[in-house]
Symmetry: C2
């Protein structure tokens, strides 16, 4: 109560504003302010290093962590430095007079403490926390505390709804003024699996509105946005994306800059380094974005397999029910398909290799991977059935017709041109120059493929940063191989990355060979 008055007192006492300086340090999604130790303001206020300060000028304000500087080459006594992103975010020129004050602690901190103590939070609590998170009022420490406190099985499904709803409301919200607006999403964990790049053109060619946005890889060797970037620009300004969807009924662009779930963009900065992906956070992250994007119908793909994110049918069913409950509360029509996650989908793992697979399927190339084609047609068929004019059971046939008639390829080319085409020849994909093959050590049948191992090999080889790096599969579950026959080929750009991938394969190549009878049963279900 007294703090705001205190601040006005300080300005009454006439502490001089400081001159803004851009400090050429990239601190990655963490605003840092630099203040000289001998600066009058620092001495008078006695800020602590790493304290959160509020920097304001001309009615604009940002929050930043304070670093104290002893070198005038970095900032002078009468300057306030801001790291690259902070400088851009304040959006003022160098030399601009700025005011700096101790930031108020975020108002939702008491609610955070109650969550840490294991209490159930109210809808209002979640709204307050999510608002503060989205406005970047939380420090990394507070963000982590929130994410971990919510992770420990401490959120009931009503709370997951509160969190999802708060996350959907805090960002931009789209309204397409038509119905249905369809979308699909896969919870991830399966290398390759670029079904969106086939489903979107098929569904959009049919005429359904599908304003899907895609993500970049977080811990995987490629995300849809990384793979699509091989073919077209994916980082489009919001207005352009919007226009594109209205014209073409769909797009394949990166959703990161569209501000649909700003709280999620912030939470991910701590979830990612901790590899945290609890059911509650997964549901809130996915559903909040879909609702903000204006979707009315969602098809959700949950792959199950020994090295997938979800490892058993009971776990998949539990997750499905949580998704269904929260989607229902949010007014979103949800269909869940539980799919085969025992091995990668498609041949390629890594942006260029996956783009080649997708284009092969669209072009009906004889070498196109049939598993990717089949799964995409099934998903697209289910999505087409969201259209009230499509009879239940007819979706798959319609999807196949759209693919086989070339209309899906035509739609894909239109989307690529609209986003900004990058020349790409699927017959001569720009693969990374250093490659090696991994051979079967003995005769046998492929009875298991370790998704995580192959993803790790592709990452070590440089994917997704090196677009042409990755793994090209030459055998899949059920294939009979002979000793010395290649199982897959690895592509890398740099010697050290090739060596790292090679050592990883030498240690465990991810393939299990044995008797055909030992193949685990498929064990999946639709709904």
């Amino acid at each position: 109560m007294d703090k705001p008055q205190r601040r006005s007192q300080e300005s009454d006492e006439g502490l001089m504003p400081l001159a803004l300086k851009r400090v050429g340090i990239d601190t990655y999604r963490e605003n840092v302010a630099y203040l000289h130790r001998e600066c009058d303001l620092y001495r008078a206020e006695g800020f602590q290093a790493l304290a959160k300060v509020e920097v304001g000028a001309n009615g604009r304000r940002i929050l930043a962590s304070l670093n104290v500087v002893d070198d005038e080459a970095i900032v002078g006594h009468d300057q306030l430095g801001l790291s690259e992103e902070a400088f851009a975010s304040l959006g003022m020129p160098e030399g601009q007079p700025v005011c700096v004050s101790q930031a108020e602690p975020p108002g939702s901190i008491p609610a955070l403490h109650r969550k840490i103590n294991g209490e159930r939070l109210t809808r209002r609590d979640f709204r307050a926390i999510v608002q503060d998170v989205a406005e970047r009022r939380y420090s990394k420490i507070e963000l982590t505390a929130f994410v971990v406190a919510c992770d420990l099985g401490e959120m009931d499904r009503e709370e997951v709804f509160y969190l999802s709803d708060a996350m959907a409301r805090v960002g931009r919200q789209l309204d397409w003024h038509e119905h249905p607006v369809v979308d699909k999403h896969c919870i991830g964990g399966i290398p390759g699996n670029r079904t969106s790049m086939l489903v979107v053109p098929i569904v959009a060619a049919h005429g359904s509105l599908c304003p899907k946005t895609s993500s970049r890889a977080i811990t995987s060797p490629s995300g849809t946005a990384d793979t699509m970037e091989v073919l077209a620009r994916v980082d489009l300004p919001f207005a352009e994306l919007n226009e594109l969807v209205r014209t073409h009924r769909g797009c394949l662009a990166w959703g990161g800059s569209s501000d649909l779930s700003p709280a999620d963009d912030v939470l991910i900065t701590v979830e990612r380094p901790l590899s945290l992906d609890s059911p509650g956070q997964m549901v809130a992250s996915i559903l909040s974005k879909k609702v903000s994007a204006g979707s009315t119908h969602l098809l959700l793909d949950i792959p199950v397999g020994p090295q997938a994110k979800v490892r058993s049918m009971p776990e998949a069913r539990r997750l499905r029910k949580l998704f269904e409950f929260v989607a229902g509360r949010m007014g979103l029509t949800l269909e869940v398909v539980i799919t085969d996650g025992r091995q990668p989908i498609g041949r390629g793992i890594g942006p260029v290799l996956e783009a080649r697979d997708v284009m092969h399927v669209l072009m009906q190339h004889p070498e196109s991977p049939q598993d990717l084609r089949q799964k995409s047609l099934q998903l697209a068929g289910r999505m087409l059935e969201f259209d009230p004019d499509v009879r239940g059971g007819d979706g798959y046939g319609i999807a196949r017709d759209i693919l086989e008639s070339g209309r899906a390829l035509e739609k894909m080319r239109a989307i690529i041109r609209a986003q900004g085409e990058t020349p790409f020849d699927p017959e001569a994909p720009p693969l990374a120059p250093l490659s090696f093959e991994v051979m079967a050590p003995q005769d046998g049948v492929v009875i298991a493929i370790d998704n995580r191992r192959l993803a790790r090999v592709a990452r070590l080889a440089g994917a997704p940063k090196a677009k042409g790096a990755g793994v090209d599969l030459l055998a899949c579950i059920g294939d009979t191989v002979t000793a010395g026959q290649p199982l897959y080929r690895v592509y890398a750009s740099y010697r050290n990355e090739r060596n790292a991938a090679h050592q990883c394969c030498d240690c465990d190549n991810g393939f299990t060979l044995g008797e055909a009878a030992a193949i685990a049963p498929l064990n999946v279900e639709g709904r």
Copy 2:
């Protein structure tokens, strides 16, 4: 398994070492490394901003978070910059060739994930985590995840023992080669309450060995080390501290630099901004330090009161039992006293004011606060009874004799001289220049004093940074006051701090006046 080999591969390929540069930025207990974006190493390795890197030279290594720099005035293409503390910690001259590589993830991360998932950890898990924490291998995010995961009632008492034991073992461990080695500790939360500064001289004058170290304020207006610093130097090198204790049988120095519980020093950096102080972490933090310091006997003070850390007797008993269990497993003899925490102990709150109170008690000044004197004699008496030659029940009388004979004052003066005396006259304490009084708004009896409110007023007034700032109490529970009579006086160094404290008092001065019958019963017990 493959990673170490990878590193050696990289050096085989001859990436040039970089020249070390000291970057004058103080990043407060977080090592930061600065690398230019155009640096060959950065481009080849593709480090991510904020990634953890290992910087090595001449067999020394440190871990640091990476900031990417675009300004050659900060670091050049062939340089590696280190923030102040990181530079000091590597301990190499500028220009020294250094190698930089991606840091291996800490080996205990899988155990951390199991804790986040709510699993019970083994003794070996806790040792691995604590080792990594102490070596600063954990990021702030990982530290927070550990602290929060352990906070959610997710540690059973066996795990608290594992954690305490691991924390005691990871740092330096002292052995005084005699028995008993006595210590006292208060769990905190009561303003004033500088009993250690009386208990240590009394116990040391008796001849018991008391190698107590003290802490600085974290969220309070003063810690024992802050108050003692008014009288003497408290930041002593370890060897000197050791020698001093052997000579004088006790000391009153800051324990922060003695490396007795390095993991605790790191954990506190996230516990503090979150105001986390769970029973498990409190027990581990306190007992690990006492055991490392070579104590065999500990007297623990748990104050109880409506605004103390522990608010009820059942809560105090639960905490006592946890302390007793863990101390027992660690081989430490523990006595717990549960004391009156309904109001501050002593008159002054803030370093100079508290130092005045302590010296007044030692000098038997007529104005010395009797509550501080009584409590200190009781605690000292219990500690004296750790001496096998002192009969049960005789401790208090011996303590009083030591105080009244002037031997405690004499011992205090010896300790002050040995640590490095700062001139101080308790009759003319160097108080902060700006003061105001807070008056009783009506006639009545003081029935309650809000510890937290008074601590907040003292903090806003500038304590402990401004040594002379704080609150001087002029009334306590049970006193009859008349309207306009001063309840306390506030001292501040700066106008803005005085104003902030004033507004805080205007809003709620922390005193409750009423009928004498409304005073809450004392409700405490010894054992």
